[in-house]
């Protein structure tokens, strides 16, 4: 029997997803035995034109990681959709924008300024912004167009499955890959989440909740949390209540707040959900105090949150209800 055809591609991402796949240990041998790699820029030398030459639907499984941030990402999304039977939005960037998506909280111009002229390592007198087209003696050079807004893969092409995580956990990847190889029936495709849980991270978290209320929040470096107790109730902005399980609550297990990398639960907006959870732990002052005192106490606590939008939507900004800031 001929092997299944496998592709993996990175768009706007950090490369961690590629590592996470290689990190599945000896199961990678099973991947090699079952699949022929037909495109994987990180690991094998295929060119875009090779992919263009494949018949439509030639690739059995394509893991697409990375968000859509420029015209090259977008072209590759369309190309790989056409050439793949099963397209997986692999990891948080492809699923929901992830860290690249945070630039939706600002503008393209500000992003380019931060990268090319305001950075400490740059020489401001020589700032050159990337130009889509440049004339050189040899002719015209083209580079991809940088977009105003970062989008998730499923905002550009339909995806069959979504594997959340930044990056997806190795045991989850291994389980999914093995299921595919064994021919086991996967859930119905159509943007379906696989390789993750159906409850919030809190449900898998061993730390104790005591319905404690707080008067201020701390950034991680400002507080050494008490072991064994819920981090959110100690004032660390743990995203556990608004985040999909699947990692086994890795971060709170070692006293680090969950940053939210598995994204929201089905049909939820992660930022809106964590907002409710955060609001519920804020102390409103002593009973019997006036409305003005109560409001002041609430405001004082909320003001200790450094960057609500960037924290609540650290991973899911591009896929959130409002998707980007207005300017």
């Amino acid at each position: 029997m001929s092997k299944l055809k496998f592709a993996m591609y990175w768009a706007a991402s950090c490369g961690g997803c590629e590592i996470s796949l290689l990190n599945i240990g000896e199961d990678i041998l099973a991947v090699d035995a079952a699949f022929d790699i037909v495109f994987w820029p990180c690991a094998a030398d295929f060119k875009y034109k090779d992919v263009q030459g494949y018949p439509d639907g030639y690739i059995d499984l394509c893991l697409f990681n990375g968000a859509i941030r420029n015209s090259e990402n977008e072209e590759m999304a369309h190309l790989l959709r056409r050439k793949s039977k099963t397209l997986v939005a692999f990891g948080s960037c492809a699923y929901e924008g992830c860290i690249p998506g945070l630039s939706n909280l600002t503008t393209k111009a500000a992003t380019l300024r931060a990268a090319y002229s305001d950075s400490y390592s740059g020489d401001e007198s020589r700032t050159v912004l990337p130009q889509p087209v440049t004339q050189v003696p040899e002719g015209e050079l083209h580079i991809p167009l940088f977009y105003e807004t970062v989008r998730a893969l499923d905002q550009v092409v339909p995806v069959d499955y979504i594997m959340p995580g930044c990056p997806p956990e190795s045991h989850q990847i291994a389980a999914v890959v093995k299921a595919i190889i064994s021919g086991a029936e996967l859930p119905k495709p159509g943007g379906t989440v696989i390789g993750a849980g159906q409850v919030a991270v809190c449900e898998e978290c061993p730390l104790a909740k005591n319905v404690k209320q707080i008067t201020r929040f701390y950034r991680p470096y400002e507080l050494v949390p008490e072991p064994g107790l819920c981090l959110l109730e100690q004032g660390l902005l743990c995203m556990g209540p608004a985040t999909r399980s699947g990692c086994g609550a890795l971060c709170p297990r070692v006293n680090m707040r969950c940053e939210g990398c598995y994204g929201p639960l089905d049909g939820q907006d992660q930022g809106a959900r964590i907002l409710s959870a955060v609001a519920s732990v804020v102390n409103v002052g002593k009973a019997g105090e006036g409305e003005a005192e109560m409001e002041a106490a609430i405001e004082a606590a909320m003001e200790t949150l450094a960057d609500p939008a960037g924290t609540f939507y650290r991973f899911s900004m591009a896929h959130s209800l409002l998707q980007r800031t207005r300017f």
Partner: protein
């Protein structure tokens, strides 16, 4: 003559007070701006921040949350929960470029039809100079063309 811009304000009104206040404003034939689309909820605590974001995304120019005065919530302190969410939601919306005037929290008891009507009038006047929000047609449409 140019018609003044009539903002669309989605109003989430608590069943026990502000919805009745709106009813009273009607039966008392109080004249006020026809800009608020009331949605009845059992308590302001029922209003998930998602409702507000969704209203703004789907075409509202503003959202009014109206409920019982502190101390008078039918479910004891649902409105205090709403107040805490509201304060944080404002910080979030500011970062997303939504002006403060567009999302407001109002307390109106069942007998305060006049106060509710005045709040709608006031909010309408405050949103007018800001113009339409049109989140889908402007913010999201720009994202779609990759621009």
């Amino acid at each position: 003559m140019d018609e003044p811009f009539q903002p669309v304000i989605v109003g989430f009104l608590c069943n026990w007070c502000s919805y009745r206040a709106a009813d009273l404003a009607g039966t008392a034939r109080i004249h006020y701006a026809p800009t608020m689309r009331p949605i009845r909820v059992m308590c302001t605590a029922r209003i998930e921040p998602e409702f507000v974001l969704k209203a703004l995304r789907e075409g509202a120019d503003g959202v009014m949350i109206a409920g019982c005065h502190p101390g008078e919530c039918h479910y004891v302190e649902g409105n205090i929960k709403a107040l805490r969410r509201f304060k944080l939601l404002k910080l979030l919306l500011r970062q997303l470029g939504v002006e403060d005037e567009r999302v407001q929290l109002v307390w109106a008891a069942a007998s305060e039809g006049k106060q509710l009507a005045e709040a709608v009038d006031r909010m309408t006047e405050q949103i007018r100079p800001l113009g339409p929000l049109r989140w889908k047609q402007t913010v999201l449409a720009a994202a779609e063309v990759g621009g």
